[in-house]
């Protein structure tokens, strides 16, 4: 570990949830961009990610990074039927809000706003927390994500019933399960391998 990564001033770390763009600094040394092997580049999937210290840190184990990234992209970007993108992002933001990942919440709250055009409602989730009362459909998405995030897991038939009552079919519910479950993966990496920094 280099002293450069450790000695950053902590004052620049955000202490509130935000939709603003944040930076992220690694606590362990990423693979230097110029030292990336072909296999590590394949692990990144998009070569643009070589600019990101987060992905270059994960590139130390390229095969799991590649599979993780391809799963991530399909869970969020494959909107051929199933749950609309806005609500997948809402599930990611709610999961991150529940676990306390300020960085992940900032990215996916922004996406939720972009795809739903409901910036103020998204901000209320960040400000008031996952108990916020927005509308029946968003409440059901948030509640199910939070229940799936608890350890031990609290997601049960009542969540499926509520989701169905607000119009989600089986594929949409499966998409929600994958979105919230995936952010229990992402939050653990983002929160433990480094920290956000105000832009």
């Amino acid at each position: 570990m280099s002293s450069i990564t450790l000695d950053r001033p902590a004052a620049k770390a955000p202490n509130a949830f935000t939709q603003a763009e944040l930076g992220w600094n690694a606590w362990l040394d990423p693979v230097p961009e110029e030292a990336l092997t072909e296999r590590q580049k394949e692990g990144l999937v998009d070569i643009a990610r070589a600019k990101s210290p987060y992905f270059r840190l994960l590139a130390h184990d390229p095969d799991i990074l590649r599979a993780r990234t391809l799963a991530d992209k399909d869970i969020f970007y494959n909107t051929r039927s199933g749950l609309p993108r806005a609500e997948r992002e809402l599930a990611a933001a709610a999961t991150s809000r529940s676990n306390g990942c300020i960085y992940c919440a900032s990215v996916h709250a922004r996406f939720a706003t972009t795809f739903s055009k409901r910036r103020e409602d998204v901000q209320r989730l960040l400000d008031e927390g996952t108990g916020v009362d927005l509308d029946p459909r968003w409440n059901a998405v948030i509640e199910a994500s939070v229940a799936l995030t608890a350890t031990p897991i609290a997601f049960g038939p009542e969540h499926v019933r509520k989701l169905r009552d607000v119009g989600l079919d089986d594929l949409a519910i499966s998409d929600l399960i994958h979105s919230a479950a995936f952010f229990n993966w992402a939050n653990r990496l983002m929160l433990s391998l480094g920290e956000p920094e105000i832009g």
């Binding site: 509130a16 306390g100 499966s174 992402a186």
Partner: protein, 202 residues
């Protein structure tokens, strides 16, 4: 993945070939294939980052036991098949009993979110079990407990004990991915199983 390869998530969620949930999962083949490829990368491929199969399975068993549910049996079964695996599985079971709690908890950076701070236990392996597990695995299980239950307590110093116990950066990345993947897999399996019991049929 070929259709013949056993799918780990299907197994954990109790999804039978041709069932409505199987059909549902096959509507997202890229997700299905890469969730399985992730499992294969962590538990079936030769090690390249300096974390043994026993260590991976001990950590996975610990995560699964802390969550409860069918994944524990799966990973403990694989662990028991390793050299000295029976003894290790017993030690991991004991750590999971001692480490059982409810999450997520932890503290935010001081500020407006401090009112949401939730106190909870910090897991330490007891001295006798430390000796039996070895410092390397004992430290990894302590780190794992934090990642499972109070991830927002993470700080840069967390890696000092791991480094002192000879964990390299690549090995820490694989350790972190193992805990994080299990946290996904167990939730996806649980969620799909609940959905399967209450599905309309697809």
């Amino acid at each position: 993945m070929t259709d013949q390869a056993p799918d780990a998530l299907d197994r954990l969620a109790g999804i039978a070939a041709g069932s409505p949930l199987d059909t549902l999962r096959r509507e997202r083949p890229q997700t299905r294939d890469n969730v399985q490829a992730s499992y294969a990368a962590l538990f079936e491929a030769p090690d390249e980052t300096g974390i043994t199969q026993s260590e991976r399975l001990a950590v996975a068993s610990f995560v699964a036991l802390l969550h409860g549910g069918p994944a524990a049996e799966h990973y403990l079964g694989l662990l028991e098949a390793q050299p000295e695996g029976g003894k290790l599985a017993e030690l991991v079971r004991r750590q999971a009993e001692r480490g059982a709690t409810e999450g997520p908890y932890g503290a935010y950076p001081p500020g407006p979110l401090s009112r949401e701070d939730v106190a909870g236990p910090i897991f330490k392996v007891e001295v006798a079990d430390r000796v039996a597990l070895g410092e390397r695995l004992a430290t990894a299980l302590e780190h794992t407990h934090q990642l499972v239950f109070h991830l927002r307590d993470a700080k840069p110093d967390d890696f000092a004990p791991l480094k002192a116990a000879s964990w390299s950066t690549p090995a820490i990345v694989t350790l972190s991915q193992t805990v994080a993947y299990l946290s996904f897999q167990i939730r996806a399996a649980h969620g799909l199983q609940v959905l399967g019991l209450h599905a309309l049929g697809v």
